[in-house]
């Protein structure tokens, strides 16, 4: 390419870049660097951070366990209503998370369709517990994983699976020893997206799991609350979330996530 860059493209491109980068820069500029170590060591911050990391990780594992087989079903089998199912699965992707939280309450709440039965049979109540946080995060994040893994399955060459079958491999062996290794980059990319989405989850979590320090107050919830009472603390918490996101993304980017 040579010649002058067209301003009609360059100007909005630079504006867009500034729009995305400036808020992050603002976070760094206004951070209370002198009191940072002390604030980070506050038990409430550590507790929220630990809870966020644990719930996001468990939610990602749940999504992997359920989402990879679901993606396989969508990509590799034919059954009536498959297209409709695929559309339904992507709904949480575009649904406002608060609505997701309300929906979860209606189904899994103490008076909910399934929740009532869970409570009566097992004495288990999910809303406003740490398990509820995991469920809210998984509900919102799973479509990211399913879409990513299904894409990897569809772009992969199914003839490798045929070759494995001619060598005597059962469908389960084919999946475990051929399909899964071949789509591993797609699975990891999906898991990272899924984890990042779970880590930042706010709307569904606060609706379904509430905001109790130590059990359901994750980092995004803590940030929002701190902003009303103690703006400086909100900046510190935001910095931590930003740092965690950047570290994860940078650590995986070169090797795995380049296709996102």
């Amino acid at each position: 390419m040579s010649g002058r860059l067209p301003w009609l493209l360059l100007a909005p491109a630079l504006a867009g870049m500034a729009f995305l980068v400036l808020p992050l820069a603002g976070l760094l500029v206004r951070a209370p660097w002198s009191t940072l170590p002390a604030r980070l060591a506050e038990p409430q911050v550590l507790e929220a951070l630990r809870l966020s990391l644990v719930t996001a990780t468990i939610a990602t594992l749940v999504c992997l366990l359920l989402g990879v087989p679901l993606a396989w079903l969508l990509a590799r089998t034919a059954f009536p209503g498959r297209r409709l199912l695929r559309a339904l699965i992507t709904v949480p992707l575009v649904l406002p998370p608060v609505v997701g939280g309300v929906a979860l309450l209606l189904v899994l709440g103490r008076r909910g369709l399934v929740g009532q039965w869970l409570d009566a049979t097992f004495g288990v109540s999910l809303p406003f517990t740490t398990a509820g946080v995991v469920i809210a995060e998984a509900f919102v994040a799973m479509p990211f994983l399913v879409i990513s893994v299904e894409g990897a399955l569809r772009t992969g060459d199914p003839r490798f699976e045929e070759a494995a079958a001619t060598l005597g491999a059962s469908r389960w062996t084919v999946f475990r020893r051929v399909t899964l290794p071949l789509i591993a980059p797609g699975v990891l990319a999906g898991a990272v997206l899924c984890w990042a989405r779970a880590l930042g989850e706010f709307g569904a979590t606060i609706t379904f799991a509430g905001n109790f320090p130590g059990t359901t107050q994750t980092m995004p919830l803590a940030v929002y609350l701190a902003l009303e009472t103690e703006p400086e603390a909100a900046v510190v918490l935001s910095l931590v979330l930003l740092a965690v996101s950047v570290i994860i993304l940078a650590g995986l980017r070169e090797r795995w996530v380049s296709r996102i």
Binding site: D157, R159, F160, E162, A163, A164, A165, T166, L167, G168, A169, S170, T173, R177, V178, P181, L182
Partner: protein, 354 residues
């Protein structure tokens, strides 16, 4: 149609009638391959060769017919339970596994222990001359090496039926020559039935004991390569083996083809094929003296280089290819559109029943 397969059931080998239906395409072929025999499915692109192979492997569903291997039905089994080995056209070696792990994959699936599978795989890699590449990943192998790993992987499951889909098509000319002769040795050693798909007549003739020619989903000719090469029965086969081929009506030593009467050495009656090589056609500017048989007047349709000679395409009562020397072209001053006399010797002309 010549058939070397006996009619009575044999203890070993493949007997199959494959019917596969696709939109606007129907494959219906019968295939008999004795144990130890190598049969090549030869045909133009889209003829249904690969579909037939996939049906044998269980990767394409049969709409009809049956497959019997060593006296037992095969078509009722899913691919993973068929005693087959397949070498795919682009080999399909698992990219995340080493050469050794690729070859050990089949034995592992058949229940061999990890150590046993690796021992079998190492022995097979040794046999195909790749013992030194056991830990190489497929992307580190050359085309010829990948082909040999694919063959070793197919043989590792101790198949009774070996299926090869264009095993040499992905190789360059030099590698092809060497790989072809290696493959020939391995196929000779193999005790089960082998079906090989190819569109290259040379591959088919070097590797196979018998050719089955498929066109538009049906068998049009079969026999040993010598039979097929001498007696082509379709334009496709005639082109492959480099003969001019015509359908005519015989009456004793004479065959009428269109407006031309050929003298032939055979004595036949009724519908026949007449075939002769392009090199046996002689061209003349003016009508040569002698018998009017085997002689006709045509128009030059095209002139092209063909090896050391020049191939002249003639239009007229019959279309024909003639191979002449560059000197003859210069002497006769040949050019497209020109009218010219063509003759062919009776001793070079071959007739057989249609």
């Amino acid at each position: 149609m010549s058939r070397s397969a006996p009619e009575s059931p044999r203890p070993g080998g493949l007997r199959a009638r494959l019917v596969v239906e696709r939109p606007a395409f129907r494959l219906d072929v019968e295939l008999d391959v004795a144990a130890g025999e190598v049969v090549a499915l030869l045909g133009p692109n889209g003829a249904g060769k690969t579909t037939a192979l996939r049906a044998l492997a269980g990767l394409a569903a049969l709409a009809g017919g049956s497959i019997e291997l060593d006296g037992r039905p095969l078509h009722t089994l899913p691919p993973e339970h068929r005693p087959i080995g397949v070498v795919f056209q682009d080999y399909l070696l698992f990219p995340h596994l080493s050469a050794l792990e690729n070859v050990a994959f089949g034995p592992r699936c058949q229940g061999a222990s990890r150590a046993e599978a690796r021992r079998v795989a190492a022995a097979l890699l040794e046999r195909v001359g790749l013992a030194g590449h056991a830990s190489a990943k497929p992307r580190q192998l050359s085309g010829g090496q990948a082909q040999r790993v694919a063959l070793a992987r197919a043989l590792a499951v101790r198949p009774r039926l070996l299926l090869l889909d264009e095993p040499l098509a992905a190789l360059d000319a030099h590698t092809r020559l060497e790989t072809r002769s290696r493959l020939r040795r391995h196929l000779t050693d193999f005790e089960g039935a082998t079906v090989l798909v190819t569109h290259d007549p040379l591959d088919a003739m070097v590797l196979a004991d018998r050719l089955v020619v498929i066109e538009n989903g049906a068998v049009v000719q079969q026999g040993t390569s010598a039979e097929v090469a001498r007696h082509p029965r379709t334009d496709y086969v005639a082109r492959l083996v480099g003969l001019n081929l015509y359908r005519g009506v015989a009456d004793g030593p004479e065959v009428a083809v269109g407006g031309v009467v050929f003298s032939v050495t055979e004595r036949l009656q009724g519908p026949v094929f007449v075939a002769f090589p392009p090199a046996s056609v002689a061209l003349y500017r003016s009508r040569p003296d002698g018998s009017p048989r085997n002689l006709w007047r045509g128009r030059i349709d095209g002139i092209e280089r063909y090896g050391d000679n020049i191939r002249v395409h003639l239009d007229g009562p019959i279309t024909v290819s003639a191979d002449v020397t560059p000197a003859a072209v210069a002497e006769l001053d040949l050019s497209p559109g020109q009218e010219i006399w063509a003759a062919v010797k009776a001793t070079e002309t071959h007739a057989y029943p249609a």
